[in-house]
């Protein structure tokens, strides 16, 4: 059989990958063209870029070190925005603008980090469930439902607290930013069900499609089908839910830190709110600035996700 088809150069690779690869490039380019026209998507992308910009270059651009207390020594703590401190100072004399910039880095680490964990679990479990079907699928659906119904936030709080107690007096205590990393992992663990759900839906839909059948006829093995054929086509929907998840994780970490369960050594927007909330009446700018940071980050990722959904699943306009 193989010898007979070798006359045509295009089909020498018998996994049939020449066909889907064309599809893949077309899909991404087409998606990008549609995305460009979508105003919400572009706005989202810009906001996210701003966050990434400060996340990467923030520490270099920040006018003051985050723990710089010279303002306090100069009796300038709790002062409103001025030329010396663009966003004012908080009760300890820290420069808010600098701390907010450092906060961007933490936010991104939390968001991207937790989503990395969540994606790996989510795509593997969801994909396997959707592809294999049957009993494992049923089990997975019950499992995902479980995560949807329980009070996730409350359980996360308990876990963070418990973890905080558990490491007291152990060798782990010395690890820097341990609390933060723990939060990242916990958020990842609780973040995989939505990804798994989408992954499963996509795999279920795609495995019935004709191009998969075609690939199978050309002799592609199961692994090949999953990774080269189904997964790339499932990516757009997965990317959307992951983008949403990054925003959600940033928000969750902010909430956890705001309640005082966060990492006191890490500079996160939630932590800043936790420190400065008591002084809201005297130094409101100290709370407004980090709050706006969270808002912009979450808004950016949400709009980005919206734009991506429209780009890859255009709704027919009359």
């Amino acid at each position: 059989m193989r010898k007979m088809t070798s006359a045509n150069e295009n089909t020498q690779d018998f996994s049939g990958s020449s066909l889907p690869r064309q599809r893949r490039h077309g899909m991404w380019r087409l998606g990008w063209q549609r995305f460009k026209r979508n105003k919400t998507g572009i706005l989202g992308l810009s906001l996210v870029s701003v966050v990434f910009f400060f996340g990467i270059f923030g520490p270099s651009l920040a006018p003051y070190a985050p723990d710089d207390q010279t303002a306090m020594l100069e009796y300038r703590s709790k002062s409103p925005p001025s030329w010396k401190n663009l966003l004012g100072t908080d009760r300890m004399g820290y420069d808010i603008a600098s701390r907010v910039m450092y906060g961007a880095r933490t936010a991104l680490l939390v968001g991207v980090g937790s989503m990395l964990v969540a994606s790996i679990f989510g795509i593997l479990i969801g994909g396997f469930s959707g592809f294999a079907g049957g009993m494992s699928d049923e089990l997975l659906m019950r499992f995902t439902e479980f995560f949807l119904v329980i009070p996730v936030f409350v359980v996360i709080l308990v876990m963070v607290r418990i973890f905080g107690i558990a490491v007291v007096g152990t060798v782990f205590e010395k690890i820097p930013y341990l609390n933060l990393s723990c939060i990242v992992i916990i958020l990842g663990v609780f973040g995989w069900p939505p990804i798994a759900r989408i992954g499963r839906a996509e795999f279920l839909k795609l495995k019935e499609m004709e191009f998969v059948e075609a690939a199978r006829c050309l002799g592609a093995g199961r692994m090949n089908i999953i990774f080269r054929h189904i997964l790339p086509n499932a990516l757009p929907s997965l990317i959307v839910i992951i983008a949403l998840g990054v925003g959600q994780s940033i928000l969750l970490e902010a909430m956890i830190s705001f309640l005082g369960f966060g990492d006191p050594k890490a500079i996160s927007w939630g932590q800043l709110l936790f420190f400065n909330y008591e002084f809201l009446k005297i130094a409101p700018w100290a709370s407004i600035a980090p709050g706006m940071g969270i808002f912009i980050a979450v808004l950016g990722f949400n709009l980005l996700a919206d734009g991506l959904t429209d780009a890859f699943n255009p709704r027919l306009k009359e």
Binding site: P151, V154, V158
Partner: protein, 322 residues
């Protein structure tokens, strides 16, 4: 009947769920070590007598599983134990603190639902106009606004700068508003309810509007108009009724999110509800309260989901046949 079996199946799942969550929490609490040692470490002033009381009351000399079963058995008799911090029966605490939480959560979800319907219908019937654009943009912003930041802003604006509403608590400590306990409560509820309603209204508006736009394009809507029915009847009786159905399941999810993030909401306003209690309980390691609250909150969430599932079956005739 199909509905009865459906409900029973869901109830059984519900029981498993609630029990499952409480087991997990119990496991987590106990796996980190001996609770007594932790208590002693966190609260050095604790006397030996108290410790002995706790030990015998909570059967701490038995195995984990037995401890859990004792707790579960008590719970089934509506005995949630005694709070270590407050030394009060947990059951009573759950009711009084729970009531405060319900006081803001239920109005919030109702207001959100009604407001979102009004906004969604207004926007959908004026698609592509400025009104539609305004509603959509506001909803997109409202969806991404962190709830607790909104709460902070509300306090800043309405409490500190304008002085219209109180900034914390559920009741005034000194002079009640116009000497009425009811008005005083309502006055304190305004800002927290506003904060809770924002996200819900935004997401529901986007969802219902989207559904309305789809439904209004359907043939049966044109057919209804062609039969001479009034516009208001077509929009509300025919289109909206169809558009709302998917939003109902979403209500349960929203309620769950609201309840789940109650700790944050109540911290912002120092609101004496379950969320606020939960945080202090976690920090103080007040196990009976933690276990009791986890049970109640999970139970409320599961009930909300169950209710919407049942409502869905009754409202959408296409589902009944299953």
């Amino acid at each position: 009947m199909g509905i009865a079996r459906f409900i029973i199946r869901r109830l059984i799942f519900m029981v498993f769920l609630v029990v499952g969550v409480t087991i997990i929490i119990f496991f987590m609490i106990n796996v980190i070590g001996d609770p007594i040692e932790l208590l002693m470490a966190e609260r050095p002033g604790i006397t030996q007598e108290v410790i002995d009381n706790i030990k015998s009351y909570y059967h701490l000399d038995r195995s984990f599983a037995e401890q859990y079963l004792y707790w579960l058995w008590n719970v089934l008799h509506l005995d949630f134990g005694l709070s270590i911090t407050y030394n009060l029966p947990v059951g009573g605490m759950l009711i009084s603190w729970g009531w405060e939480t319900v006081k803001i959560q239920v109005p919030a979800i109702l207001i959100s639902f009604l407001l979102s319907i009004v906004l969604a219908v207004t926007a959908a019937t004026r698609q592509y106009t400025k009104t539609d654009f305004t509603v959509m943009s506001s909803a997109l912003l409202g969806r991404s606004m962190p709830g607790f930041f909104l709460g902070i802003l509300l306090i800043l604006i309405f409490s500190y700068w304008l002085g219209i509403f109180p900034s914390y608590g559920a009741h005034s400590t000194r002079n009640m508003l116009m000497n009425s306990a009811l008005l005083d409560s309502l006055w304190h509820m305004v800002l927290p309810v506003m904060m809770l309603s924002c996200f819900n209204t935004a997401t529901l508006t986007l969802l219902i509007r989207s559904n309305m736009v789809d439904v209004l394009r359907q043939d049966f809507i044109i057919a209804a108009r062609a039969s001479g029915l009034k516009n208001s009847r077509v929009v509300y009786g025919h289109a909206l009724k169809n558009a709302i159905i998917p939003a109902l399941t979403y209500l349960a999810i929203l309620f769950g999110l609201m309840l789940g993030t109650a700790p944050v909401t109540e911290t912002v306003f120092s609101w004496p509800g379950l969320g606020f209690l939960y945080i202090s309980a976690i920090q103080q390691l007040d196990y009976p309260v933690i276990m009791g609250e986890t049970l109640i909150i999970t139970l409320m969430l599961v009930m909300a989901n169950l209710l919407t599932d049942i409502a869905y079956v009754f409202i959408d005739p296409r589902i009944r046949l299953e």
